[in-house]
């Protein structure tokens, strides 16, 4: 059990100021990566545009005018990956086990939220409700459903295999993931395979700032409400998780189990309960992310979990698996990178290469690269193998 739950100091500071600092510190780290990543990638594309300008007229102008949109898209994608990655990293931190079915837990959350929306709409309740209240209710219901699902999966598919060779529970998890995909498809039926979220009237876009470009046009930069809700909610989830892990007694128990399971059980910690709760928390985060995804992109299908799960795992590894802030940072870096590749690859090659497809290729290459050159991730500590 060489991997720690997170990089923060293990002894919690009792003073309230210290607690506050500990809970909010990751937001600073995330901000640094958001700004740094955007600046770095933005500079790279602008330089590329300058270098390629000879071939294509107006390239620089096009590149700069979509830049803010790309950054916002990247952030939304990044927070999506980050929230899912938290579930991977929590479970990995405690059990050293890749919960392969986590992507499907996220997908189930998206379906629960959408189903709730459709049900509320059919009852006529949705129209009378403030859209933000619906968002809150849907997120909570989906979190509960996904969390319970994760606990159930742990109880029936993983717990009997604890202590078996490492690959055995992973194979069981792959099985769970396939079963969930088809079960949801079976329950949703062909008519609801592509589940549409009810449209919410969340208001128009919120203007952020204006800037004038070299060509003389005024560029208005704005963010849509869905994206804003997405980013704020996932930040709230991170803070809540940080509070849970670092300040509460439950968090202390989780950290203890992550460090040394047998000793934790000698200290009177109910290890099985703590592991179940860890799965609940991880699953709930995934479910919340699912609803947010549904609200932002309005359509979900039973297969969204697979690729999203894979990307989120990449994010968790990129940030340093087992590290909570790392998962957030990894998600944001990956999301920004994908948004940049998918937009600018198409732009730079004049549509000859399809950006979104190669963005996936790029993120897998990053996964391989990070595992080869820095297996401990951006924020992780080097884990030595115990013999």
């Amino acid at each position: 059990m060489a991997v720690k739950a997170q990089a923060q100091p293990m002894v919690s500071d009792r003073s309230s100021l210290g607690t506050l600092r500990q809970v909010l510190a990751p937001i600073g780290q995330i901000l640094i990566f958001v700004i740094g990543g955007s600046l770095l990638l933005g500079t790279i594309v602008v330089m590329l545009a300058l270098a390629l300008q000879a071939g294509q007229a107006n390239l620089l102008n096009g590149v700069v005018s979509v830049l803010p949109l790309v950054i916002i898209d990247g952030l939304v994608l990044g927070f999506l990956y980050a929230t899912i990655a938290l579930g991977y990293t929590l479970v990995y931190g405690v059990l050293e086990f890749i919960n392969f079915a986590h992507g499907e837990i996220y997908m189930v959350g998206a379906f629960v939220g959408g189903g709730l929306g459709i049900w509320l709409a059919s009852q006529g309740l949705l129209a009378t409700m403030h859209p933000l209240i619906f968002v809150v209710i849907a997120v909570f219901v989906a979190m509960l459903a996904s969390g319970l699902l994760a606990v159930g999966i742990e109880r029936f598919a993983y717990r009997p295999l604890r202590g078996a060779p490492r690959l055995v529970p992973l194979i069981s998890a792959i099985g769970v993931s396939l079963v969930l995909q088809d079960l949801v498809r079976l329950i949703a039926g062909p008519a609801r395979f592509n589940l549409r979220y009810p449209t919410l009237n969340l208001g128009g876009r919120i203007p952020l700032f204006e800037m004038s470009t070299a060509a003389g046009t005024n560029l208005r930069v704005s963010i849509d409400n869905q994206s804003l809700i997405f980013i704020i909610t996932s930040l709230l989830m991170l803070v809540a998780l940080n509070y849970l892990i670092n300040v509460t007694k439950l968090g202390k128990a989780i950290r203890a189990v992550a460090q040394d399971r047998p000793t934790a059980s000698l200290m009177g910690i109910n290890v099985n309960l703590i592991i179940a709760l860890t799965f609940f928390v991880g699953g709930a985060l995934g479910g919340g992310a699912g609803v947010l995804f549904g609200i932002k992109y309005s359509t979900v299908n039973p297969y969204i979990g697979f690729i999203a799960g894979l990307k989120a795992f990449t994010a968790a590894v990129l940030g340093g698996i087992g590290n909570i802030t790392g998962a957030m940072v990894g998600g944001i870096v990956l999301g920004l990178l994908e948004a940049f590749v998918s937009t600018y690859l198409t732009l730079f090659t004049n549509g000859r290469l399809s950006g979104p497809d190669y963005a996936s290729v790029a993120s897998f290459l990053i996964l391989i690269g990070i595992l080869v050159f820095r297996p401990s991730g951006l924020l992780g500590e080097a884990a030595t193998q115990k013999v």
């Binding site: 295999l161 604890r162 079963v179 969930l180 290729v361």
Partner: protein
């Protein structure tokens, strides 16, 4: 754990030993097997469209394998079943022959994955990528597609069918090279990371197949490649002199059946020889304990690379055959569910067990191509009879569900598989076979196991 130690010794006998105990070693076994094979063959020949007769007939291979008869008798009966009766049934019902050909292709794939997962213990979730490499290799060069890549030699493409046999070898080489290329960066990773990276690799290959139609059209993109070349019927003059007149389609069907079976035979032999070789022992050592293997002087990097390459070769060869047989390939054939279905075959049969991989592949292919469609038809009949079966439920559409259930139930209830390898069987039932002292050492990891965990 205390309850498990009292498991009676009888339980540990293999099925083969138990059968031997019942029927004895003498003529009785031989008579039963021959009777079974003959009866099943006659039943199938008189009912060439009955799936049940077909399954009973195919299970005669299992009977031959399990019953204690001499090896020469097993070989002769196996030849009779697969070499004489099955081709004859194929002339009556082509569908059944196709299922066996398809099963043979997957048997070779399962055997290849078994080398990586079962022998060396490296979980590869992108195995179908090597299959895709073989398939696309032949598909590109046997169609005008190749002219897009090498315009200077445009008039020499598509290659003639005779090149098929060269490409069978080239497919093996290309897959092995990709196996090494994938292996090199991921060798330092622990098992579960490796699984995810290989999964990513499989996705990358599929995405490339899907997208390499621009700017140069190499793979045909999402439309895939059609009209893939087939090997020449070099034995056609022989058929003519024997006065056998069959359509080209039927001849090719038989041809691919024989070729697939031959490749399977070769792969089984190679896999067996590999497992028993020095390399195979090194793989076992790596699988059981990497650190100890290094300490004992096993060249870890070379052996892992070899496992990747050896496993990939089987898929590469079968990919070439598959492309030639179907004459059409497209990216969805090579998605991750395909990789996982091959993994399910290996797990079902038993990791590391060669007969297990064969059985698992045959069972899952049969399930996919025969049992599920028949079950779907049966459901329609039942629904018409008024049984409450939901309207849209079609079991054929729910392959993932079945693969998933296979994986979960096998790992929980029979992790050693249907036909377990001897060593793994011993390993997974460690606590039953050894004394309580060994059990104590095991408890260190099992402390939170529901049976023995501390309850507060």
């Amino acid at each position: 754990m205390s309850t498990r130690q009292q498991t009676p010794a009888r339980e540990r006998l293999s099925l083969r030993q138990r059968i031997a105990g019942i029927v004895g070693q003498g003529y009785a076994a031989m008579v039963i097997v021959i009777l079974y094979v003959l009866l099943a063959s006659f039943w199938l020949i008189s009912n060439p469209f009955s799936t049940i007769a077909y399954l009973v007939f195919l299970s005669s291979l299992l009977v031959i394998y399990y019953f204690p008869i001499a090896t020469w008798a097993k070989v002769a009966l196996g030849l009779l079943v697969l070499g004489v009766v099955m081709p004859y049934v194929g002339t009556l019902n082509q569908g059944f022959l196709d299922v066996v050909t398809q099963a043979a292709i997957f048997v070779a794939l399962a055997l290849g994955l078994n080398v990586v997962v079962g022998f060396a213990g490296l979980l590869d979730l992108g195995y179908v990528a090597f299959f895709a490499i073989g398939a696309y290799l032949w598909a590109i060069f046997s169609t005008p597609q190749a002219a897009n890549i090498i315009p200077s030699l445009a008039q020499s493409f598509p290659l003639a069918g005779g090149w098929f046999f060269v490409f069978l070898i080239l497919g093996v080489i290309a897959a092995a090279i990709f196996g090494v290329l994938l292996g090199l960066p991921v060798l330092r990773l622990r098992g579960d990371y490796l699984a995810i990276v290989t999964l990513g690799f499989g996705e990358v290959i599929r995405l490339l197949a899907n997208n390499l139609n621009r700017p140069i059209n190499i793979t045909g993109g999402a439309q895939g490649i059609t009209n893939i070349g087939q090997p020449p019927l070099f034995f056609a003059p022989v058929l003519d002199t024997l006065n056998i007149n069959t359509s080209a389609g039927a001849t090719y069907r038989m041809y691919f059946y024989v070729m697939a079976l031959l490749i399977v035979l070769i792969t089984i032999m190679v896999a067996r020889r590999l497992n028993d070789s020095r390399v195979g022992r090194a793989w076992t050592a790596i699988r059981e304990d990497e650190t100890a293997a290094i300490a004992m002087g096993v060249p870890l990097v070379r052996m892992k690379l070899l496992a990747f390459a050896a496993g990939a070769t089987f898929a590469g060869a079968m990919g070439v055959l598959y492309a030639a047989k179907l004459r059409f390939i497209s990216p969805p054939t090579f998605d991750v569910v395909q990789s996982i279905s091959i993994l399910a075959m290996v797990i079902l049969g038993g990791m590391g067990s060669i007969p297990g991989a064969v059985l698992g592949a045959a069972l899952i292919t049969l399930l996919n191509l025969r049992i599920l469609p028949d079950f779907a038809n049966q459901l329609v009949i039942w629904r018409r009879a008024g049984l409450p079966i939901p309207e849209g439920f079609d079991p054929v559409q729910y392959q993932r569900l079945f693969f998933g259930l296979v994986l979960i139930f096998m790992t929980i209830f029979r992790p050693e598989g249907l036909l377990p390898e001897r060593r793994r069987r011993a390993e997974l039932h460690d606590d039953e076979e050894q004394g309580s002292d060994e059990g104590l050492v095991q408890d260190d990891q099992n402390l939170v196991h529901p049976d023995v965990g501390l309850k507060s």
